[in-house]
Amino acid sequence: METATKAENIKEMNNTGETLSGAEILVRSLIQEGVDTMFGYIGGAIMPVYDALYDYQKELKHYMSRHEQGATHSAQAYARLTKKPGVCFTTSGPGATNLITGLADAYLDSTPMVVITGQVPSGLLGSDAFQETNMVGLSMPVTKWNFQITKAEEIAEVMAKAFYIARTGRPGPVLIDITKDAQVQKAEYKYERCKGIRSYQPVPKLNMDEISAAAELINSAKKPMILAGQGILLSGAEQELMEFAEKTNTPVACTLLGLSSFPTDHPLYVGMLGMHGNYGPNMNTNQCDVLIAIGMRFDDRVTGDTSKYAKQAKIIHIDIDRSEHNKNIRVDVPVLADAKQALTELNKVVSGSEREEWMQSFKDYYRLEYEKVIEKQTHSSRERINMAEVIDCLSEKTNGEAVLCTDVGQHQMTSARYYKFKNPNTQVTSGGLGTMGFGMPAAIGAQIADPNATVVSVSGDGGFQMTIQELAVIRQYKLPVKSIVLNNSFLGMVRQWQDLFFEQRFSYTEMDNPDFVKIVEGYGIKAKRVSKREELQDAIQEMLDFPGAFFLEVVVETESNVLPMIAPGAAVSEMRLE
């Protein structure tokens, strides 16, 4: 078979200096960078690259999305699970602009991506040619780096740089725009991986003075608290975090994206931070004496009113991105470091003491939250099913070991609150950008990254319809993705805000939804709807036992709000339970 022979000795072919088309150089560059999976959508300006891909089907598996946004979210989830840059291809113009949401999402959530867009021939640049958009200009605010290639000879070097930038330091998305003539031109192919860029220092040199200053605060703390962010997962510091928490006997709270960096069944785990997080960690943020923030960025959804945030505490902030220090919150000890690097050093010098009273205060808050919120939601006495019942059941039946991909809204917060994550990197969600439509295409990427995992996407009826076309990807590639839609016939989270802060003026949040089951069945995917509580357990079990893709719509209560909640502009300690 010609496809096999052509690329059989790809490594050896690497440095032969042979003359290839720009498109083939690009494809070979991907292989050199260890890429074997990518997502994308063909179109005019990227056709030469797709033509080259045809010869490398054995080495590079391409998944065709049904909309470019879907491709980006799949690539994001793939990147988060594999810790390799997610790769996307699209054409110029609308194909490229459809990527912007995914790029912005990946940028805010520090997800490594290398996105390649076709572009009109270089001679037409700036002329408003057919399907020309200034992608470098458009993507600049939402990428870690971008570059436009107009000559085939630039491709290998720029691709090496793109991968280096995407995956090092604080990871992020990189966009490479390649004009069509550069794809067709011939150039000599020689690939060298990028080892450094003179104006970019991805891994800061650890300052031991900062470590000492942090250790001093930690070792004298009476009521310390750890805020664990996604930096733990990105740097693979889960073990170091565990050791640090246990050595110092410090309670651990996670940010939304930090979930699954610390096992939820660990005695030191105290819950999620932020607007819809747990009561204890939010209340105690304003009670602790030392706040140890690791790989998180004090997002406004975590801090609430910054003028009333942890004023009593000394704050240590470990982050690899220097621009995050003192950005939202003034900190006492900034530590410029990769989380793993910093924790490894700290673990050599820290110690802790008994903190019975301090730990008890978290337990007391939890009991209160349980009585006022959790029990009522997981054991609802209302007619309709509560979202929390679904997630609680899912968590139990999967033993907290599924990869959970969520969309944005009430179901997302409910999933984050009630799913008991056991293993690292098992939650994929859109945190910073809050992108509706993220969940299901993300589940596609997650399933491709880990074909043996139980991957469940949880969406609302609003978000699911934003990228519903990606069901065709599940169909085409026979992916065993389980999709749950929690249908309350409303944009639930917006409705909740209207209920609480806009005098129940439900302006344009009610949805007259289609028959989801019929639609999904149209894609050839097994689908089921439940609305009765007594059917829920069996339906979830049936979904999990089914050997292929399965869609489950659960009709849930409309009026239920996600609680507790820190109202916008309120302090963390003003969290309301009802």
């Binding site: 780096w145 971008n146 970019y200 621009s323 003192n326």
Partner: protein
Amino acid sequence: MKEYTITVFSENNIGLLNEVTIVFSRRKINIESLTVSESEVKGISRYTIVAFMDESKVENVVLQLEKIIGVFKALYFEAEEIVHQEVALFKIANSSKLNGNLEALVRNQNAKILTVNPEFLVIEKVGYKAENQQLFNELEQYGVLQFARSGRVAVSCLQKDFTKYLKEFVA
């Protein structure tokens, strides 16, 4: 709001200027003046940016500038921490109205006449923005055809040897 002079050293690449200005525009900070040209090291550009902003935000802005791939270093200064100047060029119609007074004015203001021809003459002055403005005001009686001023250029009072520092990047 305070006036800050921000110095940025970067690669001389297409698009970097755009990335630098995005840091300001996304925070709705207006740039009063911006000068970009090659630094003492070939291939490395020096930006001098003047902008008004909150004291609490200037450090964030500078760190976000430094985060841009292609930027080596970004620094911020208050007025007393730098020595700075602007260049101004004044084009004036050459007519019988001009007399010895103009020459005296030019001399007194430490300006100089760069070009004289039958149609016009060009005066150059190097100074603070306010000084150049002052000369403009005084020249208006002779009819100023054009008045062009550069942005601010500045060197800091810091001890650091930036020439050496920048050369290390290209070494």
